[in-house]
Amino acid sequence: MAATNQKNVADKTYARIENADLIEVGWKICVPAKADADAFLKAFDPNKPWLLFGAGKKGQLLVGSWWTNGGEFAGLNEMFKLYKAANPDVEIVNAAIAGGAGTNFKGQLLTQLLGGVAPDTFQLHAGLEVETYNPPTLVVPVDDVYKSANLEAAFPKDLLTLLKYKDGHYYGVPVNIHRANVLWYNKALFTKAGITKAPETWDEFFATADKLKAAGITPVALGGKDGFELQHTFETILVGTLGADGYRGLWTGKTSWKDAKVTDALNTFKKYITYANADHDALSWASATALLINGKAAMNIMGDWANGEFTAAKFTDYGWAPTPGSKGIYDALSDSFALPAKAPNVDNAKAWLALAGSKAAQEKFNPAKGSICARTDCDPALFNAYLQSAISDWKVNAIVPSVVHGAAATPSWASKGYSDPVVLFASTGDVAKAQAALVAAAAAAGFPQ
């Protein structure tokens, strides 16, 4: 069988056998020499039945991700091409499941991993999201890839700190970096309201917002349909109010959630919502971005995937700045690839991980996806104007982990302890209660205040 299928790779007149029990009349098949057949059966692993079908001499590479549309899919395909060129004997299987931020993929993957079935590698937000997979039980360290591909020299120090799990190992190789703390604005509306520069502090922000309001313009475009938009905005406010060290400390127990600055951040958030479009609870982040594109609202806080929406809509009259108070800080999230403990083709997976960390792959992937390289040595000329500014910031800024996007805290803290009080707060505006709930969440996560 393997002989026939291998023959099929070079000569399509040979049949490709997909089902071991089925050979049809009229198929041209290749009978191996006895020595070959003996060798094949001896090396054959009944636990890896797909090898029977000669997926390539070296088997398959199953890549799990939630990249299924637009730029992200194009980027992934570029990586597949590179991999195929370097490993022609491996068949790549794209095991992607659609769904923004991996909501569908993660649930499915976790069920599979718990059941003992694993892809060879899968997409993972870098940082504490790895705890979803209980390292090192379901995923295993990839330190040797870091060593062989010399990745420690390629990534910024702050990123390495973020990637290193508390047991001192790396569990994923990052391919890209997104920035969460970006304030986008519509230049035409700014000009109309007589505003000349983007606000740098929250006081300036609200002064700007008042000017816009006076000019009859909705100051802030906000989405809230999926809840995460609100949590995302509040996260950037925390970053801007507490600074890099203060914000980092929130997730390590060094900064108390009882801090007066958290109270300030809650008050700022409350005020921020009052400047937003009235229907914010009905809109997704992309619809909120569309308000800015269509000139219906002037400012929007969103991660730099919004830049992809601008490009897709051929909208160029926008400006950007770090969210108020967060100049010099890069609130980062990163997609990485991890290695499951039960990966069927470990060698293929490791080759993939090394590729994911390489300059060649990152330079192909990121311009398509609309993110920047995790490496610091990519050629900026390949990227658009916004991304170029992000690249220069990435090299010098303090890097802090995004909580909403899986980097800063364990899943239970990030998607319940932190997020539920923020959703409640956005509707009640009860600062004291929200802060108490956030304190309780930190305590539940193991950081009593």
């Binding site: 914010h280 009905a282 364990t410 899943p411 319940k416 509707s427 009640t428 709930a437």
Partner: protein
């Protein structure tokens, strides 16, 4: 028939039933037991942890003022509000349509199909479609249904639909509220016992989908009422209203019971419609237990907490179903 033969038949019938009994035992009851076991454990990360923690996970849901407890109370409130209005509107509209169709109108089959069609659509599709229609837009820049209202000059009818964060509840300052407070029922005058206006949008979508089905049930019921009874009532001088009030409605009681049970258990477990249409909503105004269970289990990896929510949901559905089962088993026994 010889006794030997009869024994053999009994053996065969048991053998035939055995596979489904085993399958039910494993895939329904064993898993319920497993969920119950998990709900008493401390499994709150991806790593299975079966340390016994007693009723801690249930305490989280029911006791205190933690965010989990608040959210779960809101879930129950939303579920009750949704179920009540959904059942009521389906029964009224379904019965109304059935009565109209029962007048032997021309093209009855066409109308029947039109009213039944929505049922063939999945809740996901319904949810997405109604989400598009009920997305409000801004007051001066409406979208969806709100555009229609504006164009028709009915601007006052514009609503914020499922984004409305308003909770209607008895104010403690009102007359009734004061009375409740004075007799120690003050807890009824909180938002935990209110009705979130956003739920109405869900009710509209679910009603659109299932009132046709209710109509079909009632229509079958109406057709089974013998004409002689109606004629006799009319002969006795009963008005049309009295015929329905005293003859037909009582005879339709079993149909109404079936409707309540079938729609009731759908609405208690409602999940897909919420996911595709509203999500948890502003301040959890449209969150329901099933949605919370899914989020808790798979997003936050709090498996034990999720199992606890699942069990509460099971108990709630059982409260609805078990009396019905007892009733129908007893009815069958009488036959």
């Amino acid at each position: 028939m010889s006794p030997k033969h009869r024994n053999w038949e009994r053996v065969v019938s048991i053998l035939l039933l055995l596979p489904s009994i085993l399958a039910l035992g494993i895939f329904v009851y064993a898993f319920i037991a497993w969920t119950g076991y998990i709900s008493l454990a401390k499994w709150d990360s991806a790593a299975p942890d079966f340390t016994f923690v007693g009723l801690r996970n249930f305490e989280h849901l029911f006791i205190g003022d933690g965010t989990d407890a608040i959210r779960f109370r809101y879930d129950l409130r939303n579920m009750v509000g949704f179920t009540a209005f959904f059942l009521l509107s389906c029964i009224i509209i379904g019965f109304g349509l059935a009565v109209l169709l029962d007048q032997r109108v021309r093209g009855e089959a066409v109308f029947r199909s039109i009213f039944l069609f929505p049922m063939a659509v999945s809740f996901i599709v319904t949810g997405v479609a109604w989400r598009w229609m009920l997305t409000p837009g801004e007051a001066n820049d409406p979208v969806g249904v709100n555009i229609i209202f504006t164009q028709l000059g009915l601007k006052n009818l514009q609503s914020t639909w499922f984004t409305d964060p308003t909770i209607a509840y008895l104010s403690p300052d009102s007359g009734v509220g004061a009375i409740l407070n004075s007799i120690g029922l003050g807890f009824l005058t909180t938002k935990d016992f209110g009705y979130p206006l956003a739920i109405t949008s869900l009710v509209i979508a679910a009603m659109w989908q299932l009132s046709g089905y209710t109509m079909a049930l009632y229509l079958a019921g109406l057709r089974s009422v013998p004409d002689e009874l109606r004629e006799a009532a009319r002969m006795d001088g009963a008005s049309e209203v009295q015929v329905y009030r005293h003859i037909i409605l009582p005879l339709l009681q079993p149909v109404t019971l079936s409707v309540v049970i079938i729609l009731g258990h759908i609405s208690l477990k409602i999940f897909d419609l919420v996911v595709s249409m509203t999500g948890p909503g502003p301040g959890f105004a449209t969150d329901v237990p099933a949605y919370n269970m899914w989020k808790t289990t798979f997003d936050a990896t709090l498996f034990s907490q999720g199992a606890a929510i699942g069990l509460v949901l099971l108990v709630l559905v059982a409260i609805l179903i078990i009396p019905y089962l007892r009733y129908s088993i007893r009815a069958e026994a009488q036959v």
